[in-house]
Amino acid sequence: MKLAFYPGCSLEGMANDYARSILAVFNHLDITLVEIDDWSCCGATAAHSLSEKMAVVLPARNLAAAEIMGLDIVSPCANCFNRLLFSKAMIQKKIFDVPWTVTGSIQVHDMTRFLARPDMVERIEARVRKPLKGLKVVCYYGCQMVRPPRLTGFTDYENPMTLDRLATAAGAKVLDWSYKTTCCGASIGIGRRDIQESLTARLLEKARQTGAEAVVVSCPLCQVNLDLMQRDKASGHLPVFYFTELLRLAFEAENGSAEWFRMHIADPVPLLRAKDLLL
């Protein structure tokens, strides 16, 4: 199976560890990810803040490239996913002129939703060599992946389950909590850090109250936001994992290395060692 991979800017910079774990996981699942050739930024929040036209045409370049490849796109970043879908929907309405041909022939998949399909979960379960027994986590989805539901197609947008299913497949104990889709505020961290920190701090506090030992995310912005909040020890210690990091750990337990987690601010290594999941 082949998919077009649209990593997005974060995965080249702050979330480079996410990119590495994704490639490893897809490799184990025998799915070939073909990076979209010379992809460009989707414009994120800035484009749709300042110019609706740019919010449509910037992602369109990547949609067109994937159509030429003839492959469905899989997007690891919630924001990119949302922007690609938005662009695709707007192009069909023909409101703006787009310099590339986008016919809408390919699908845009959110990575968690793609991997949480029953056939994929089966594949994952078959590859797990060392289930992450005893690791108690909460899954955090954020806003861009599930909302607005008419765009994202999530029917269970109040209680999404894709990450829950994947973390469970990796053997972790997933706890239920009410803050799965409450916004973390990453988009205004620059400019109004006070607001962003109040939102992020509440999420971490609720996760702790739920009894979680770690948070599982799929969005690179959520990850760095939740992680940066814990830069001084006083604000507690709750590692924030990308779901693919957990899958990779379950797939190649004996080769697991602390090196994989060196980009984390809240260091997960002591927790994983205590649970006997890492040497």
Binding site: C9, W39, M54, G191, R192, L228
Partner: protein, 212 residues
Amino acid sequence: METTAKDRTEIESRKVSSGKRRLIGDRGSHFLKRMEGETGANIAACYQCERCTNACPVSFYMDVKPHQVIRFVQLGWREELLRSATIWVCLSCEMCTTYCPNEVAVAETILHLRSLAAQSTIAPREKQLAVFHQTFLDELQRFGRVNEAWLMAALNLKPGILKEKMRSGQLKTEIELGLTLWRKGKLKLLPKRCEAIKEIRDLYRNRQGDRS
């Protein structure tokens, strides 16, 4: 004394419109029609149930609450909206739109107001956020992709930003954050440039041609 939700709405809207009590804006329903046309949001369907505001995670920080934004559009109060902090503070988290019983696209309306404000001569209430969005697009135009380290550096070079950050003490926090990210290898200093950067720059040249 207890104030009901309705009182609150009235008191707050009066404050925003700077003491003057106006029932309907200069442009009357013209603004409403224009906003509806440009966003596709059925703004006139709002019956002020405040569900959007109750769902909003940052309504506390807004001067004009989400349900009031919709009301103001109905009344044609364009200036009050473009001057508000709300249009910059909104996170585009889509809680409001998702939970509106009348399918009013509240988040999209706010976003559209933000782009109107950016194109207007009105000084943005949240200058840093406004400049940030612009800087992001500038960086995108330079490289075709956005590098976080360069983005932050470029933002600090914009007029007035660094001075404001020094004054508010934000600069200290930011340096601390930057150092943490650096130590963890999360900052990449060399930006990657798209090979087809010309295609992207052409987009910028045509961006004013908006609707086809």
